[in-house]
């Protein structure tokens, strides 16, 4: 660890354009990247962590300017060099892996050609050698059947394979520094674990310096040698991984660490002897996409004989990776999509058998909280309307509905004066609270929360989870909680159902499931949860 640093960032100051929420995106940040080390820059959204990465790549947007500081790399200040000099540095000496592998790859180009293009851009090797190199790289980063996969297009690969291909491109010219901007955020946990291991191995074999940007402390605990914690563009704490994780000095770091949901579920009493709030029996759903003439239709089975019951006051978690059909089940239960077969029974009403007016009247009893706080509120309607529209549609007097909207806003921890404002004036966490208020406005018996906290920062996530838990207890609600994050499920669910390829493979009380998983897929999921070696949990 005594080798000289590959990159030295000193007093970096990046100014935001006028009208931003603060004058500097990055304010006086200094840290070193050392060969053979992974340094994690951690922070919540808007902390300026991605700006640091982009400054290091010379990829800052036109409207932000670096005002002060130096980025020293191989004796040059990267902030002073021109575009042609950047051309030699970028890709060749410093390479980058992006968050979303689908949009970072060219959909019309074969994987192998995209890897070979990196050599071409720098005028290296003959076309034949480039092809060979592409295959070699594909093998090194662990793509299956490299000779064939280099001829595939991005859409033919899985998310994890695409991210591997991105890493191959980044490594093609053997850079000394690798910048990874949230490289695993878009991936499932099991894939995430594999990619993290890959980055770790490659970094060791090639003795690279890695700058790893993430918001997830679990990932940090798994991969970091050193940690830099950013908040509002300033470094609040930096040090070795053990020091920061086990003995955080700054209160913000402590708060962040405390907000990370742990895999230790709180003690819960069983509620299975209570009455059932909702009964879901044998839901089947197959999506059929016609592929044109002379070709068989493409069929995807999103739900296969899905059955469960939620008891009064109980939270049932539905856990699975992307494509497992958990969101489809939520929409089937809400009757936002029609099931091929099966029944959803709330009390004595069969929700799948009624139509039109009758259905609209019964919808009051089961309400939904959506995933994306930015897409789930109509940008052209005021908060007050968004919340009171539902009750008004069900015949509540306009003035009474508005009064209730104010009460609800207070109940979810917002200022009642917010009813006259528009959604864009609120942050993600506040919008999610508004979404919760909208769901509660109709006094439902059951709440379906579809990834309701997945788009939020950890600290906000913890607050929203707590709010949900409180409200549920206070109003005696039952909840179907859909999430991909087992840690969140462990914190909030009484029972958890694990879904794989449209089927529920295991359903048990949370404590039992975590302690004693039976199905191999459940075990795999549990093993892949990041941050299980984190000192904060050992304590």
């Amino acid at each position: 660890m005594t080798s000289s640093p590959a990159v030295t960032i000193k007093d970096l100051k990046i100014a935001l354009p006028d009208g931003g929420d603060r004058p500097y995106a990055v304010d006086g940040v200094s840290f070193d990247l050392t060969p053979g080390e992974i340094i994690c820059v951690v922070g919540e959204s808007g902390s300026g962590k991605s700006m640091c990465a982009h400054a290091l790549m010379g990829l800052l947007p036109d409207r932000v300017k670096t005002e002060a500081g130096t980025i020293l790399f191989e004796g040059h200040d990267l902030l002073g060099i021109d575009e042609s000099a950047w051309h030699d540095v970028r890709g060749r000496r410093i390479a980058m892996v992006f968050q979303e592998p689908m949009t970072a790859l060219n959909p019309l180009m074969r994987i192998g050609d995209q890897i070979a293009e990196v050599f071409e851009a720098h005028g290296l090797l003959t076309p034949k050698q480039r092809k060979q190199k592409a295959v070699d790289l594909a093998r090194e980063i662990g793509l299956p059947d490299p000779e064939r996969i280099v001829r595939a297009y991005p859409h033919q690969l899985s998310g994890g394979q695409r991210q591997r291909a991105m890493i191959a491109m980044a490594l093609a010219l053997e850079p000394t520094v690798l910048v990874a901007d949230e490289p695993t955020t878009a991936l499932d946990v099991t894939t995430q674990a594999q990619i993290l291991k890959l980055i770790r191995d490659l970094q060791r074999n090639r003795n690279m310096a890695v700058l790893f940007i993430t918001h997830d402390f679990g990932v940090v605990a798994d991969i970091a040698d050193r940690i830099v914690v950013l908040r509002h563009g300033k470094v609040v704490e930096q040090g070795t991984a053990q020091d920061v994780l086990a003995r955080p000095q700054h209160s913000y770091t402590r708060a962040l660490l405390a907000a990370v949901p742990s895999m230790q579920p709180p003690q819960r009493s069983s509620l299975t002897e209570r009455d059932r709030a909702v009964d879901v029996i044998g839901l089947d759903k197959t999506y059929v996409t016609p592929q044109g003439w002379f070709r068989p239709d493409r069929k995807v089975q999103a739900a296969k004989e899905v059955s469960f019951a939620i008891h009064q006051g109980e939270t049932l978690g539905l856990v699975g990776e992307s494509g497992s059909g958990k969101s489809s089940v939520a929409r089937l239960v809400m009757r936002l999509i029609e099931a091929d077969r099966g029944t959803v029974r709330i009390g004595d009403v069969d929700l799948t058998q009624i139509e039109g007016k009758e259905l609209r009247a019964q919808r009051r009893r089961i309400q939904m909280i959506f995933q994306d706080p930015f897409a789930s509120l109509n940008p052209r309607r005021k908060i007050g309307n968004i919340i009171s529209d539902g009750p008004i549609a069900h015949g509540v007097d306009r003035r009474a509905a508005r009064r209730r909207a104010k009460e609800l806003l207070e109940m979810v921890g917002l200022d009642p004066g917010a009813i006259e404002r528009y959604p864009h004036e609120f942050s993600g966490g506040q919008r999610q609270r508004i979404g919760i208020a909208r769901a509660l406005a109709l006094d439902p018996d059951i709440i379906v929360a579809d990834e309701a906290v997945s788009a939020l920062d950890v600290s906000v996530q913890a607050q929203v989870l707590k709010l949900l838990e409180d409200l549920k207890a206070r109003l005696g609600l039952s909840m179907l909680f859909i999430t991909h994050d087992l840690r969140v499920a462990a914190q909030i669910c009484d029972r958890v159902a694990v879904m794989q390829k449209g089927e529920i493979v295991e359903m048990k009380p949370t404590t039992l499931l975590l302690a004693n998983p039976e199905h191999p897929y459940t075990r795999e999921l549990l093993a892949a949860v990041p941050g299980q070696r984190s000192p904060s949990q050992a304590a």
């Binding site: 936002l336 609209r360 009247a361 009051r364 939904m368 109509n378 539902g390 909208r438």
Partner: protein
């Protein structure tokens, strides 16, 4: 709305377009008060060249009628036809498109095949036939233009609704038990409006052109003077008296150009992200 206006004013093209259109509207509204005489009346001897007599600054046509008066009264017809036929096209196209996009399935198929039926017929030919069958009058012209210009509106609205329908806030409205009409009118259409407004401004321009073309062919309202009629009437003597065709032609050009500039300005103002990337 204020923001959109401010963005428009910052855009030089949109600004110029707005100014020209404002002038045209002023001429259409107040011109006839300044020139109370009918544009059909003989004002001077025929073929007075422009800029020679102060009473007829833009000259006279083959029958001695004042070209300036014709342009002023023609502005009324052109703008009115442009506006009314566009509104009529929107009242047909927006609901049809919204229904097709929202309900999907069979309703969508039926409505879109119906729309395509109109799109496959060349629009100008259809307009000629309609006006000829219905007898040329301002009403039949407006109707014909509306009938040939609603299909693009329906297709555009359908596309917008298709993408908005899957938004979470629309699903939230479904879940809270709102009726379909309410969801379409309150949740979907307001958010689909920007491209429709842009299209509408361009449709007014197209409608003015269509009306001019119909009048040029002699299918205009015989009781109302219009720019297209003037161009058509002066075309036989264009070598001796250029001004009879050129001035109304310039009027058509300027108003269509103005509307196109406004359309583009609106597009930039309503899609600020596109505008910024373009610069």
């Amino acid at each position: 709305m204020k923001k959109v206006l401010r963005a428009m004013l910052r855009n030089p093209g949109g600004m110029i377009g707005l100014i020209i259109l404002l002038i045209a509207v002023c001429i259409a509204v107040f011109g006839p008060m300044v020139f109370p005489n009918s544009p059909w009346r003989m004002a001077q001897r025929p073929f007075v060249p422009p800029f020679t007599l102060p009473t007829v600054p833009l000259g006279t046509d083959a029958l001695g009628r004042d070209v300036l008066a014709g342009i002023i009264y023609g502005a009324r017809v052109s703008l009115l036809v442009g506006l009314v036929s566009t509104l009529a096209a929107l009242t047909v196209g927006v609901p049809l498109g919204a229904m097709a996009g929202y309900f999907g399935g069979r309703a969508d198929d039926a409505l879109m095949r119906f729309t395509e039926f109109f799109q496959t017929v060349p629009s100008f030919a259809l307009a000629i036939v309609l006006v000829a069958v219905l007898q040329p009058s301002i009403y039949s012209i407006v109707a014909a233009i509306a009938i040939v210009s609603w299909p693009p509106v329906a297709r555009l609205v359908r596309g917008e609704v298709l993408s908005l329908r899957t938004r979470e806030y629309v699903q939230a409205a479904v879940v809270t038990g709102q009726s379909n009409t309410w969801i379409i009118c309150r949740e979907i259409l307001p958010n689909a409006l920007s491209p429709v407004i842009v299209l509408a401004s361009l449709m007014v321009a197209t409608a003015i052109l269509l009306e001019s073309s119909l009048s040029f062919l002699g299918l205009g309202d015989p009781n109302l003077i219009s720019w297209g009629y003037m161009v058509g009437a002066g075309r036989t003597v264009i070598r001796q008296a250029w001004w009879i065709t050129v001035f109304p032609g310039v009027a058509i050009l300027l108003s269509v150009l103005a509307l196109n500039l406004i359309g583009e300005g609106l597009n930039d103002a309503l899609n600020p992200r596109l505008a910024k990337d373009g610069r």
